[in-house]
Symmetry: C2
Amino acid sequence: MPEPATREGVTPSDPERAAALELVHLLRDAALKLELAIAEFARTTGLHSTDVRALVSLLDAERAGVEATPTWLAQRLGMTSQATTAVIHRLEGAGHVQRLGSRTDGRSARLQVSDSAVELGWQFFGPLLDRMIAATQALDKQQQAGARAYLEAVTEALG
Amino acid sequence: MPEPATREGVTPSDPERAAALELVHLLRDAALKLELAIAEFARTTGLHSTDVRALVSLLDAERAGVEATPTWLAQRLGMTSQATTAVIHRLEGAGHVQRLGSRTDGRSARLQVSDSAVELGWQFFGPLLDRMIAATQALDKQQQAGARAYLEAVTEALG
DNA sequence: CGAGAATAACTCACTCAGTGAGGTAAATTG
DNA sequence: CAATTTACCTCACTGAGTGAGTTATTCTCG
């Protein structure tokens, strides 16, 4: 293996820091691959990447018991409310989400992912998820606990 | 904390699988936050998210000692070659990359990130990276090793 | 070697996702 | 109960990304 042509100054030779940096690179690589999987799902279903990311976020909200509103979704996606309105209309037109009026706030809306969208996502992401879960379960409990501690710490640092 | 309103059938009650699923969710959350950080960097620098992702990929290539060509970048970003050409032209115009002719293939080009772009990225991502590294170093060696094993296994499963 | 296929990168015309400006209706405030 | 804020929306526009097609270089193999 050839010595990588590293740029001066970027990687000070501190072995502990280098190990931590390597974990960051691994994390970024995993994030990139997740993003590519989403893009591929979008292509095969005729949706757009943003639409898929929105669906995923809506399912996250459902799982966490949070009421998903258009404004909440806009913040989560880092987009303007107008763009989010367009996303919701696209998803609504495709029958992937339903817009239910909020019972507590007449201005707001409650977004619910349809069963068909869940089914569709399951067909595509199911095998991928199974591979990820199998890879995880191949590790011992201690490794899994370490991974969990790392992900929690890093997510906190990213917040 | 209220009991989350989980959808039927999505989460079969297998504690080992549930633990693995939770790691997947943590990973996705971290990936989402990385993406938002990139989007914010893009906004503050007047670039676009794609441009930033391209820069990051080019730096990855440099670090790994891989020759970065437009085609390589297109595959890495999951985009067409035309869109990638546009990205490169934008970055070239902003002085963030240089296009050097490949010495082995007259058709191809070698992309190199300029020092100014590295400096710019360092200013923005430096503090974030420092927080991530500090969070990592707060863990003990065993946890870090577990995190590394997990990320490597999961990246493999995503490939 | 040299014709044909494959590959790397590009230009052009077009589409439509996302933004800025601005509007309506419901909730909150003093 | 007017004034303000909040939630969501429509409209007009910009420009990132795509499909079609081009040029130039490299590879393949009779």
